[in-house]
Amino acid sequence: MMRLLVILLLPLGFGACSGETGNPSTDSSVATVEAIDGALLQKSWPARMANDEIRGPFEGHPGWRHFFSGDLNLALGAFAQSKHARGMARVHQLLSDLYAQGALLSANATAEAYGVDAVDTDPSEMAYVLGVSAVIRGDFAEAKARFDAVPPDSLVHERSVHWLAAIKDAAAIPELDVLVKISGSLGDVSPGTQPEVQSTPHFEFNERSEKARPMGANDPTALLSHSAWHAAAAKAAAPETDGSVLEQVGYRYAVEKRPEVKQPVLPLDDAWLFCSADLSPADTGFIATASSSGLDAVAEWSDRSPLAAALQSSIQDGRVEPQSVMDAAFALQKQLSATMADIGGGVQDFHRPFAIRARIAVLLAGMIVADANDQYRDAGILRLNALERMHAGGIEPVFALSVAAWDAGNRSPLRPEDILHQFGSSYPALVAAKAPLEALHLRRSRNAAPTTPVH
């Protein structure tokens, strides 16, 4: 068993970092703090997986090992090799979220750089990229206006015509077949594989300056296509019974506003929960509800969802208190550590990373509720706190991309550049988001308060 634990934890090197031994021990310093009802906490995946028998199937599988260390590509390959349907479905779903957030990053950077900060020298074809960006940002009137402005003799005119047709009747991002018709084929959807990646830049447009220099540009449609491709692969891979699970899981990182529907507590297999920011099946329903109903969802779900229960004390005077969420998150980490030690008969190396994931899960839930409650800055505080907490154990790529997209929407290019640099080589299609981000940086830099190199 210890060998398997070492395998599971090796990619993150937690044992080495903490200086802890792998031997179970009773640690008197682990204080029992009742953050939430203990019975509710017992239903969470970290608590249940303190039990060797429940954790066992995950420890030995290379797919979960890579998943644990945040490498979705290697995880997908390993799941494909062992024909692990839910493992494949889960990774494809996350990759779909990843590229959707990449598309949002590209759209936000484009809107800020070429929309808000537009200059006369911008190529006229940028109207097309701005149009696609407007679709991703949910502004369909703006999108139509931009597509209408695409020059008829341009490289992207045909694409703009397709887009206009796609959004004529339905104000929504179209399905995979329409997207690939616009931005090019990605190959057949085949679970366990990856779609083809187009080289960048997708186009070269001439600047409207005296020198008419060519400017590389990319079509965010390609990122939407990748997202749709992986969504289709997830659907194809998942067991038939998991259709509604996929739907509910998709709420967390949805770029488009999803319909407000009564969410049930679905019977989630542990393959959907292991290492997830949803600690229990009820958390998945809670998050899907909270993204639209905010505070009401906390009240509605707090008797079932550990995350909602953890957040309850952080709602004060109709607002989410960020510091209180951080305290609640830490308290849950402590309570969970004590619970796992009880179940496992002592403290083990994997307890801390599991408990930290639970702590981050509370921060993310607080962020979602704060966002839905129009507390943009408070949600930002929690978002960045969650990112900081991830640094020690490895940053989740989907969340990192969502932070990058959020930053770009705030006209802040530096952190997104770093995130894209970190993940661009593993997920090469994301590189399509680089050009507008660079433009945002350059344009903001040119108008920024002066600074000099500092030693």
Binding site: P11, A16, C17, S18, G19, E20, V119, T121, E207, S209, E210, K211, R213, P214, M215, Q323, F330, Q333, R352, Y376, R377, G380, I381, L384, L387, E388, H391, A392, G394, I395, D407, N410, R411, S412, P413, L414, R415, E417, D418, L420, H421, Q422, L437, E438, A439, H441, L442, R443, R444, S445, R446, N447, A448, A449, P450, T451, T452, P453, V454, H455
Partner: protein, 517 residues
């Protein structure tokens, strides 16, 4: 009036001491050399002045929204060539006087005073043209051209007119050690410590009563002191100490967004080093992988390394970084020897000679970098020695750095340093002939032309391409041997709450910080 102001100032401090006993001590990279923001040269200077002064406009550390704590309202004037600013009423300086438009215009005029030696002011002079007070709280700031969004540019700290006899502000004034600002803290610099006492004001309500900046020494001692709660924070945690701190529930690691890259500057006036082949040889003598491993602790193949090699004067995630220029990760000694020979050097008795005399290079390193990269100086020296280049190594104090190295008066041949940047990553001052931070007086006509192209660029692509070209030329001409970018992380006790760290400026949101218990 003076008595009234003194009473107000005293009241502010008294209120501070009556508050909760919330004192906070932290380790800085070094004691700031100045608390005058016009002369801030080190990041520790910038971070300290952020506690004492208000910048006219600043960016929110979370949402990046452009905000001001001192401006009541503003309007663009004179068709974009000016902005009329109305300051909030009721804001007091730490000497008790009221903040007025006179102070704002004094600050602008001080920056426009060409007798001053402030590098920052020189940058502001490229677009500021003047300032006229139009009432007690209203001033018109004028520009020498139309600025698209002037508020973005006006991020300068406001200085008190009452503390200066003229607009000529020099770095050696008493103000640099005991400044007067309108910021949340009143700062005083001592030899071993800087203390910041909170100052209640209309626009700042800090919850921390006193902050103590202490010089961080041995990283291990810093870490133990933090864990034992004898200080509450460390601004820069070296990579080697991060795992221990990350494993503690009593400490939170904080990301600090700062773009820093490390280099070895080469004295191109040295008789041997003026030959580009010798500089290229040095670039091949360096085994960056070993330097990084032995000094920073990053092993080859480590995932998510905080330290990433570079081949030019930008971090790899920057749009200005030219990814087509390769990095020398390891040494290539045969190539280095071939270059040295082709430069006319001879190896005699195991040592390289030029004109019959053995080369001896004087290698220096900015001393405070030794905390982040222990033994880097010795490691560089060892690598030079291993191929037969004599060297003399020395650590450079902050005073020596400012007064000798940056003044172009040092006798070093190689200098190990680090430059940090925020959103603006301009490097012209480092490499242009006569550049204000061109430490060895490097001159290259091609580089100057490229830097002019950058300055004159009309479009983004022109600007980016100019710096890509610069990167390539510098990687061949090598006035610097580029080493790596190293990310910056802070650590704070978990009792310190609400501690939002602002990119670059760090303490911008200090009002939200508090100490539990």
């Amino acid at each position: 009036m003076a008595f009234k102001n003194a009473f107000r100032a005293l009241t502010g401090l008294t209120l501070a001491t009556l508050g909760t006993a919330a004192n906070l001590a932290y380790f800085e990279e070094s004691i700031p050399t100045t608390l005058n923001p016009l002369y801030a040269k080190k990041m520790s200077d910038h971070r300290a002045t952020e506690l004492i002064f208000d910048r006219l406009w600043f960016h929110d550390a979370i949402t990046n929204e452009l905000r001001s704590r001192v401006v009541q309202k503003y309007q663009i004037a004179e068709a974009g060539r000016a902005v009329e600013v109305t300051l909030k009423s009721g804001i007091r300086w730490h000497n008790g006087q009221a903040l007025t438009s006179k102070d704002l215009c004094f600050t602008v005029k001080a920056m426009l005073d060409t007798r001053g030696a402030s590098i920052l002011a020189t940058e502001y002079r490229t677009f500021l043209a003047g300032c006229d007070a139009r009432g007690p709280q209203t001033a018109l700031i004028r520009f020498n051209r139309v600025l698209p969004n002037p508020r973005e540019r006006l991020g300068f700290p406001i200085l008190p007119a009452s503390e200066f006899s003229s607009t000529l502000i020099s770095p050696d004034m008493a103000f640099s050690a005991r400044p007067i600002g309108t910021g949340p803290f009143n700062g005083k610099r001592g030899l071993r410590m800087v203390t910041f006492d909170f100052f209640t004001n209309a626009h700042h309500q800090p919850k921390v009563v006193q902050m103590q900046l202490q010089e961080g020494g041995d990283p291990l001692v810093q870490t133990k002191t933090l864990i034992n709660n004898n200080v509450q924070g460390i601004i820069v945690v070296p990579p080697g100490q991060r795992p221990d701190l990350s494993a503690s529930d009593d400490v939170s690691m904080k990301a600090y967004d700062l773009r820093s890259w490390w280099y070895i500057a080469v004295n191109t006036k040295n008789p041997a080093l003026k030959n580009v082949k010798v500089r290229q040889a040095l670039n091949h003598i360096l085994n960056r992988t070993q330097l990084r491993q032995y000094s920073i602790g990053v092993k080859p193949g480590d995932k998510n390394s905080p330290c990433e090699f570079i081949s030019g004067p930008f971090v790899r995630s920057s749009p200005y970084y030219n990814a087509t220029v390769p990095v020398n990760e390891t040494d290539n000694l045969s190539k280095a020897e071939a270059l040295l020979k082709s430069a006319g050097l001879e190896k005699l008795g195991g040592f390289w000679n030029v004109n019959g005399e053995p080369i001896t290079l004087r290698v220096g390193m900015y001393s405070e970098l030794n905390n982040e990269a222990p033994d880097l100086l010795a490691q560089v020296g060892n690598q030079l020695g291993a191929i037969g280049i004599n060297r003399v190594t020395a650590k450079i104090t902050a005073d020596e750095w400012d007064n000798s190295v940056m003044a172009g008066k040092s006798d070093f041949d190689l200098v190990i340093g680090k430059w940090s940047f925020g959103l603006v990553e301009e490097v012209g001052a480092l490499f242009k002939s006569g550049g204000r931070q061109n430490m060895f007086g490097y001159t290259n006509a091609q580089v100057d032309t490229i830097l002019d192209e950058y300055e004159d660029a009309v479009t983004d692509t022109e600007q980016r391409d100019a710096y890509h070209k610069l990167h390539k030329v510098l990687s061949q001409d090598l006035p610097y041997l580029f080493l790596w970018k190293l990310d910056t992380k802070s650590a704070w006790r978990t009792e310190v709450r609400g501690n939002i760290v602002a990119p670059y400026h760090y303490f911008t949101e200090i009002d939200s910080w508090s100490i539990d218990g």
